[in-house]
């Protein structure tokens, strides 16, 4: 009899503990519920935010969501290799070269420029710009706010008179920086410091 009683006490205690922790976990699941997938935020922070849609998504965030769901990491054209590397790091995947299907990364950053004399003021590019970086009104000349332009290319196609050019962003004294040395086997050339001071 006593043996049975002891068994029941143990069972009861274990059940009570299980129920208690279950309730605690249930409460925590409701109270501290995480809205959305937090990894999406981190991925989105790595994407270049050009909102160009070259990856096949209607913007950077949708691609970030796709990446979180296991999509390939090599679809971001404007980001190029650097972005793929960063994504590989973050998501713990292997580096894969850029998928050429989506386009080629331009040599340098681009900016849209409207040939203003030819602009007819149709506002089509205004509607296409995901950055609101084009200024203008109906039947008024439009112009691109170069600082806000991400070079996404989306305004070029809708222009009925083809007066938008994508031009490389010019290097200024503020943005210039030293190029990488040519590497092993090459003479450093005129680079300072001079090693062989006699």
């Amino acid at each position: 009899m006593e043996f049975l009683f002891d068994n029941f006490t143990a069972l009861g205690a274990l059940t009570a503990i299980a129920l208690g922790f279950g309730a605690l976990l249930g409460f925590a699941a409701v109270k501290f519920k995480v809205e959305g997938n937090p990894i999406v935020e981190q991925i989105d922070a790595l994407l270049p935010q050009t909102q160009c849609g070259q990856c096949g998504h209607p913007g950077c965030r949708p691609y970030a969501e796709g990446l979180a769901d296991g999509e390939e990491i090599n679809k971001c054209v404007p980001g190029g290799e650097d972005t793929i590397r960063a994504l590989a790091d973050l998501l713990g995947r292997d580096f894969v070269p850029l998928d050429e299907e989506h386009g080629e990364t331009p040599e340098s950053k681009m900016v849209a420029v409207i040939r203003e004399a030819e602009c007819i003021g149709c506002t089509k590019c205004l509607q296409a710009c995901p950055m609101d970086a084009i200024l203008g009104a109906a039947k008024q000349m439009h112009t691109v706010i170069a600082e806000e332009c991400t070079g996404c290319d989306l305004c070029v196609e809708p222009c009925p008179v083809d007066c938008i050019d994508m031009v490389p962003v010019a290097t200024t004294l503020q943005t210039w920086h030293w190029a990488a040395p040519k590497g092993i086997g090459n003479r450093p050339g005129e680079l300072i410091p001079v090693r062989n001071i006699a």
């Binding site: 190029a179 450093p188 300072i192 090693r195 006699a198």
Partner: protein, 722 residues
């Protein structure tokens, strides 16, 4: 007394090569044919030009004004005219052009009005700081940071030590050495101005032990002052700001921090001298001491050079043959950069121009693989791991490089100097630093772009919502209107049915016109349908439907009219009896008379016809009688009509008195009908090729005017009522 000197990690001892230039006194470089003054000779925002092409400027006149807090003005180095304000090659390793003001000197060297202050202590500190800013003084050691920013001490910061950096540790350069030997008093004066501004506890002058003459001169100049000359051992790069602070105070400035964080402010010898000139003499910074050295230079030594002097001209003055020119280095051999354009001007930060020949500076040998010897780590004055940074930079793992404190590298070149594999390490670091900076800028831009994109998305969603809301509102309003319209006819119909007999005739007339117009519309629709059928139009079905609808309407209107007429007829039938009995109603009497006359006329006619048929003789008499009766009947008919019209008018007048709006509306409607009639007549006349009749046209016009008048009246009445 001897002061404790700390030591910093690493450092190198390259050949000094200072003797070539340090033994001749400072010479005046002379006035070139043109001076090219860049608007940016300092770290920070470029100055904004404030002169125009063609202006005559005086020596010391401001050419460009400071644009912001971390910015400085530039001044005309001599008097002359502004020849151009345009992009010119400047002192930058990129070889790019920047905005410059070119001055053609007139040779008179005429000063702008300027005044020094010998007793600056009587002035406000802010005024003195402002003078230093206005004089355009930038740090003259190499970086060119605006001195005034370093001097403006925050109230909560206590500066313990003021250090004058007179170390000049880089090989070849002797500009500060010569300056101290020749103008020690002025340097100390400048240092005292700085000391008065920031009120330090101690003032130290750090000089390397390879400049005994300069040490002696400075000790002589500082005798009896608070300043203390501290001799430090010769080692490169002890002239680095953080290294010197560590040497003299043992304090280490944290990564990313500034000397003021540890209570130290450091200024260069040349800067102190420039501050003295600015305050005591009132002269802005328009010239500096530059060392011209290297085996290609015939007249090695230190020159006092005007800002904006093209290096090509300057080298000519120092006896450099263009054919000998192998390479030209602006700055020292460790931290300078190669210049390829002889038009580049001397600026505030140009402490040395080094023109070596091929024997002196042979072409460097090719880069070899890193052998992990670790020599670079042993000489790094900042205690970094240069080879590690090199690997990261080479493989473009910039985040790792940043993690290994790449930002703290002072690019002194000690690691490159000792590297047995001839790896241009500093270049790798400069490249990596640039890439990291670019990435940061891009990241900032991407964040900004995300914000803008999200704001745009939100705006579009808001606009869509607004549109949808408006659309729904419009739909609701339209539905309400429709319902109102439906309710209106029944409301209108009610008074009609309830109308008294006085209105009866009027209502009847209305119904008649309504019936007629619907009938007409029906006919028209039918006609249209026929033509459509003939032409094989696509809208047949719709037309058919319409015709059917109109037919139903027309039938309904007709029916309404007949019933109303019958009812009217009944009342009219009921009416004459009492009217005839009382004889009070003249209209009824007239009607009766007219009917009687008409009946008599008809009877007579019948009799005439019978007589004619039977060939009676009194046909003529009968004929006469018929004619007589006819005229009588006609007359009585006319009288009756007249009476009816009069009665109608009376009723209308009565109605008008009761409801002027209604009357006015009726009038408008009447006039509209008249106008329509007139227009139609005119159209008919035109269609029948009869030509537009003038009279008809006049009719139309008159009808139009009448309609307008009626409408006007209606409006007036409505307004009055409102």
């Amino acid at each position: 007394m001897s002061r404790h000197i700390w030591d910093f990690h690493g450092g190198i001892h390259p050949p000094e090569n200072k003797k070539q230039s340090s033994e001749t006194s400072i010479r005046w470089a002379g006035l070139p044919e043109r001076l090219v003054v860049p608007v940016q000779q300092h770290i920070g925002a470029p100055a904004k030009p404030c002169v125009n092409v063609g202006d005559r400027v005086l020596k010391g006149q401001t050419l460009a004004e400071a644009a912001g807090f971390v910015s400085l003005p530039v001044h005309a180095p001599t008097s002359g005219t502004v020849a151009a304000i345009e992009l010119r090659p400047i002192q930058h390793p990129s070889g790019m052009d920047a905005l410059c003001v070119e001055i053609t000197p007139d040779g008179q060297d005429e000063w702008i009005e300027h005044q020094g202050v010998s007793d600056y202590t009587a002035l406000d500190k802010k005024a003195v700081l402002n003078r230093i800013r206005e004089a355009g003084i930038a740090g003259m050691g190499g970086a060119g940071f605006p001195s005034v920013v370093k001097l403006g001490v925050k109230p909560d910061q206590k500066i313990k030590t003021l250090i004058l950096n007179a170390v000049e540790c880089e090989p070849y350069i002797t500009a500060d050495d010569r300056l101290m030997r020749e103008r020690a008093d002025e340097i100390v004066q400048g240092l005292q101005i700085v000391a008065w501004l920031i009120e330090p506890e101690e003032i130290l002058i750090g000089i390397e032990d390879n400049k005994p003459h300069a040490i002696a001169a400075m000790q002589k100049a500082t005798a009896g002052t608070q300043c203390e000359v501290v001799v430090v051992p010769t080692k490169y790069p002890s002239g680095g700001e953080k290294q010197l602070i560590h040497l003299l105070t043992g304090k280490e400035v944290r990564s990313g921090g500034i000397p003021a964080d540890v209570g130290v402010v450091c200024h260069n010898t040349g800067t102190a001298y420039a501050i003295k000139r600015a305050i005591i003499d009132g002269e802005p910074l328009i010239s500096r001491i530059t060392t011209l050295t290297g085996d290609c230079v015939a007249e090695k030594g230190n020159y006092e050079v005007l800002m904006g002097t093209p290096v090509g001209w300057l080298l000519q003055q120092a006896g450099v043959k263009a054919t000998d020119l192998h390479r030209l280095i602006m700055g020292g051999p460790m931290m300078g950069f190669a210049v390829h354009n002889m038009a580049v001007p001397v600026v505030k930060t140009t402490n040395c121009l080094l023109v070596p020949n091929t024997r002196e500076f042979p072409d460097p040998v090719p880069e070899q693989p890193c052998i992990r010897c670790g020599s670079c780590a042993q000489v790094c004055p900042v205690n970094l791991l240069p080879q590690q940074l090199y690997w990261f930079a080479k493989t473009k793992e910039f985040d790792k490089a940043a993690h290994f404190n790449l930002a703290d590298c002072i690019e002194c070149g000690a690691c490159s100097y000792v590297c047995p594999s001839n790896i241009p390490l500093v270049q790798y670091y400069r490249f990596a630093k640039g890439e990291i900076r670019t990435q940061q800028q891009e990241q900032a831009k991407a964040d900004h772009a995300r914000q803008r994109f999200e704001a745009r998305q939100a705006r579009l969603a808001r606009e869509e919502e607004e549109k949808e809301r408006k659309r729904q509102e419009r739909a609701k309003a339209a539905a309400a209107k429709q319902a109102e319209k439906k309710a209106a006819p029944t409301a209108k119909a009610a008074p009609t049915t309830a109308a008294d007999t006085a209105d009866g005739a009027d209502a009847l007339a209305k119904l008649q016109t309504a019936a007629a117009s619907t009938m007409k519309r029906y006919k028209e629709a039918q006609k249209a349908l026929l033509t459509a059928e003939k032409n094989g139009s696509e809208h047949l079905e719709a037309l058919q439907k319409k015709v059917e609808q109109l037919k139903a309407k027309a039938d309904a209107a007709k029916e309404a009219f007949t019933t109303a007429k019958n009812a009217q007829g009944q009342t009219a039938d009921a009416k004459p009896k009492p009217a005839a009995a009382s004889k009070d109603d003249p209209f009824a009497a007239l009607k009766q008379a007219s009917a009687e006359d008409f009946a008599a006329y008809k009877e007579a006619e019948k009799a005439l016809a019978a007589a004619e048929a039977s060939g009676a003789e009194d046909v003529v008499a009968l004929q006469q009688r018929v004619a007589e009766l006819k005229t009588r009947s006609d007359a009585s008919k006319a009288a009756m009509k007249e009476a009816r019209a009069r009665e109608k008018e009376q009723i209308q007048a009565k109605n008008a008195a009761a409801d002027p709006v209604k009357a006015a509306k009726l009038e408008v409607a009447k006039q509209q009908v008249l106008l329509k009639k007139a227009t139609k007549a005119l159209q008919a006349a035109k269609d029948s090729d009869a030509g537009a009749d003038d009279a008809l046209e006049a009719n139309v016009k008159a009808a139009e005017q009448a309609l307008e008048a009626a409408e006007h009246a209606l409006k007036k009445i409505e307004e009055e009522q409102a």
